[in-house]
Symmetry: C2
Subunit: 393 residues, 2 copies
Amino acid sequence: MLSQKVVTNVSKGSMIRAMFEEGAKLKKIHGADKVYDFSIGNPDVEPPKEVIEAFKKYIQEPDIHKYMSNAGFDDVRARIAGKIQEETGISIGHNNIVMTCGAAGGLNVVFKTILNPDEEVIVFAPFFVEYLTYIDNFGGKPVVVQSDTNNFEPKAEELKKFITPKTKAIIINSPNNPTGVIYKEETLKEIAKVLEEKEQEYNTTIFVLSDEPYNKLVYDVVKLPSVLKIFKNAIIINSYSKSLALPGERIGYIAANPAIQDIEMLMNGLIYCNRVLGFVNAPSLIQKVVASSVDAVVDPDIYKQRRDLLYNHLTKLGFSCVKPEGAFYLFPKSPIPDDVEFKNIALKYNILLVPGSGFGGPGYFRLAYCVSLKTIENSLPAWEALAKEMKLI
Amino acid sequence: MLSQKVVTNVSKGSMIRAMFEEGAKLKKIHGADKVYDFSIGNPDVEPPKEVIEAFKKYIQEPDIHKYMSNAGFDDVRARIAGKIQEETGISIGHNNIVMTCGAAGGLNVVFKTILNPDEEVIVFAPFFVEYLTYIDNFGGKPVVVQSDTNNFEPKAEELKKFITPKTKAIIINSPNNPTGVIYKEETLKEIAKVLEEKEQEYNTTIFVLSDEPYNKLVYDVVKLPSVLKIFKNAIIINSYSKSLALPGERIGYIAANPAIQDIEMLMNGLIYCNRVLGFVNAPSLIQKVVASSVDAVVDPDIYKQRRDLLYNHLTKLGFSCVKPEGAFYLFPKSPIPDDVEFKNIALKYNILLVPGSGFGGPGYFRLAYCVSLKTIENSLPAWEALAKEMKLI
């Protein structure tokens, strides 16, 4: 009666969403303060005050709720282009920006615009698992390349082996979900070199899709390297879900490097796909709100404090974990090889986590620490008990 | 470098959007009050006061901008289900509602959920042209069935000829874009009879997708017939773009008839597709706003007045037109068979209209009268001059 593919995928379900539901159930039984839910990346903080002020300013303005260009309001696009220019020094105008329904919407629009059937998109494992579905939505083939498990950075030499004449794009996600790792400039430059070689060899264009919703949540580095400076064929996909704590509002953008060959056709394609996939345009009021708030950001120190507490406690207890420098995730090694089994053991202590298998990283688990410091504090004895059961201490 | 299909479609362009751009150009040259732009369905009215009050109420509430279930907020879904129940008498709960990014988003979600490759979707001509693209997005085949040009209603006997074992759905769009016609209950019941016969013959399920964003903009009838009462396999796709004048905000819903077999699997499929197509969830704040405003509607008399003025003037001048009872469109016959040529002639008088070819209705043209009464009044002499050139008077 329905799409066979959809029925199959629905029955497989989402590990993250399954834990989300499990969490709601446990909270009903034990009370919310007795359940330590690290399963989902739903920021618990409220948006910065600039956002609320902008809402108040714009809700009464005329024409604010009407259709505009499928690319978004011109002034909003110009404001965001200006901010990118300020941060990177790259000259970019409103013509290279398309406002989107979050990064998830933006990625779907990009894939529809660039992919022909059976073309390949390289994804570094572990990865945000929805990438695979987004690529499949448009007939593309995800090609998974393992990261270096010592630091969860991509390895340029490993990447090289997987590039074929059908490679249409690679995805860069830094700060990374699920590892929290930030890719070093040097790593990105090595990747750029490999891509240029292969593009010459095959006479192809390989887009670098930089999915960077966590780019404002960085803790120990001064500045993120700019993909626009490193990759000629960079397309940034961004969202304000995390930086302004607005995940429900579905607002983000695509920014394409003006240096891309046929940039005009690319932009027209993106705008067309934004329309025909049914987004039509990014929600209108919130476009104006984020443009008014380009300089605002939720306080990263809130997350840094949580990371430090949780990371220090876990490593002290004997868990092995690459120290994340951004986003709000930890990706420790599971004490037993079967990460799904470990998830079940942790559940006994009311700790909700997502098995690494859900991110193409079996043998690990993901903790989303976008929960209150109090919840983390309350969870510490449970972690200790769990570490004991796992014979870590 | 890009998707070949997208490149081809972009170069074909959208007739409606092309007129939209043409209009902007002409307005710069002649001044906005000298250009009569009937090209696009962008409501010129502001949302009802209930909407603005709801915005003010909700922007400061905690948790309002966060992720919720991919189906939308439960209380919002319950409120909308309640309103449907109130209006139709059909018992329907929040479980049968999915909040979407407008009707365009909703239709894409539905097609992804139900279509297998090469399955067919029946569309009555003339039609909202994006249907064809939405169906194609998911590998479906649009099958066009002509309406009765005497009244622009579908003909059940004609429909019957086009139903095959591959027919997965038909689209009903009443009040109709581009004709403004409302389908009579009797017509719908004849269609239901044909569908039941064919479903039995082929042992298939044929969904009736009722795209009804104009259902609150009705002028001469007391009440629209309810598709949920007439079609067992009805799926309503609706939006608040027109009824609350919020087209930029991208908010609508899918409501599926609880009587559908495997309704639970259908709902899970819709929720899954809402997620993986990158909508994730309908924008959050505006969900709460429309739920607070279910009883509100823009004043249909505003549009009725415009319809009467324009319809009466045009028919007096000799244009032939089925009198529309809803939406904000007129679909008169072009005085010459070549509707694109007629569009060009009208442009000389600064009248912007869209050729019927853009809606699978060659030989006609569409006027969107969601422009001020003043603009319509100002346009009357231009219409008269045009009628003279066309030798209608």
